[in-house]
């Protein structure tokens, strides 16, 4: 009973998030973080960030990938199906309706005004999440990670390098850093 309650909560939260989240994978991921980490405390923040990294570097839509990970974490295989169903239901319904009269929708002035206003709100949500995460990440005072963070930002924002490459390079650097660290520790013990 407890499990069904949790799954239904997962489902409705996913439907809610997916219905109102405009503007790409990182927006929905930011909102999932707020919901499942900050509000419901179902997932640890570090784990959520791992999910984002995995979602970003796996095939398919980031929102769906992240729903798969969050769902599996919360309720195993049934949780995964529940979370995915909740995530894709709103776009299926909305697009099915809009596919029939999309010209009228796309050219509607009020729809456009609303979406333009929402874009400001969406940017605020994502930057808010990013600022909180940045403050936490820098307060850990891990020099390698702070450098990686700055470099990744420049690579993504200034040079528009594909995020997959950024993630792969960072993983390699992280691995090499960890290996060097381990060797140094061993030497100290020896």
């Amino acid at each position: 009973m407890e499990k069904i309650k949790r799954l239904s909560k997962l489902f409705f939260n996913m439907v809610y998030i997916s219905s109102f989240t405009f503007g790409g994978g990182f927006v929905i991921v930011s909102i999932m973080k707020k919901k499942f980490v900050d509000e419901l405390h179902w997932i640890e923040e570090d784990e959520m960030l791992d999910y984002v990294a995995i979602s970003q570097s796996s095939p398919g839509a980031i929102a769906v990938n992240c729903a798969i990970l969050v769902g599996t974490k919360i309720g195993g295989f049934p949780g995964m199906l529940t979370a995915v169903a909740g995530t894709i239901l709103p776009p299926i319904v909305i697009l099915s309706v809009i596919a029939m009269f999309y010209k009228a929708f796309a050219e509607n002035t009020y729809v456009n005004m609303m979406l333009r206003g929402m874009s400001a709100g969406v940017a605020a949500v994502v930057i808010d999440v990013a600022v909180s995460l940045c403050i936490k990440e820098t307060s850990k005072k891990n020099v390698l990670n702070i450098i990686l963070m700055a470099a990744a930002f420049i690579a993504a924002f200034v040079f528009k390098i594909n995020v997959i490459y950024i993630i792969i390079v960072a993983a390699v650097i992280g691995l090499v850093g960890a290996l060097i660290n381990r060797k140094e520790k061993k030497n100290v013990i020896d």
């Binding site: 994978g25 991921v29 798969i68 596919a99 808010d128 990670n145 993630i167």
Partner: protein, 189 residues
């Protein structure tokens, strides 16, 4: 037969779009416009606009749109399932491996570095969204700021940080404020 074709076309799109929506768009074009001629180039351009105007991942939105147009509701369902099936298999597998090896010092160190990178990527996405939301002109030589949009952004941001308000509520109110402010400005001019 058509449903099977739809399923496999979107299965390939789901499988090869690593890195989100903007990678999926050219793949969808290659399949739905160039290979099968399910939709025209103009319809495809409309599709991209609509996918961006509506909630949900672009790949899922496109699958539903193309499926609906050529195969009705069954087409929409089949295309969408095709599009998410590769993720469900592969990401579940990765989750299994992640959980199994979590706690290994080396993997933890790598994930720790990736977390820092993810933070940077979210910030980068946020600033790009900010630019699209607040800049008015698309001219490269002169930057024109949409003051109303900037105001909406600042107010939304402050409410989120200080009041810890629900992000969806903030987005929705920003949308309504967008309509109201436009109408007020029109009435005044």
């Amino acid at each position: 037969m058509l449903l099977i074709k739809l399923f496999f076309a979107f299965l390939q799109i789901g499988l090869f779009s690593v890195g989100g929506g903007y990678v999926a768009i050219p793949l969808i074009q290659a399949k739905a416009v160039d290979s099968y001629g399910w939709i025209s180039q103009t319809e495809f351009a409309d599709l991209v606009t609509i996918a961006e105007m509506t909630p949900g991942p672009i790949a899922v939105n496109s699958a539903t749109f193309v499926g609906m147009k050529i195969g009705g509701f069954a087409g929409a369902i089949v295309s969408t399932l095709g599009c998410i099936l590769p993720s469900m298999v592969l990401v579940s597998l990765i989750f299994f491996l992640y959980n199994k090896y979590k706690g290994l010092p080396l993997l933890d160190a790598v994930m720790d570095s990736l977390r820092a990178v993810v933070v940077a990527l979210i910030l980068s996405a946020g600033i790009s969204l900010f630019k699209t939301a607040v800049l008015a002109g698309e001219d490269d030589t002169a930057i024109t700021i949409d003051v109303m949009q900037l105001l909406l952004f600042v107010v939304s941001f402050l409410i989120l940080r200080i009041k810890k308000a629900s992000p969806i509520l903030v987005m929705f109110i920003a949308g309504v404020a967008g309509i109201v402010s436009n109408l007020v400005i029109e009435a005044l001019l």
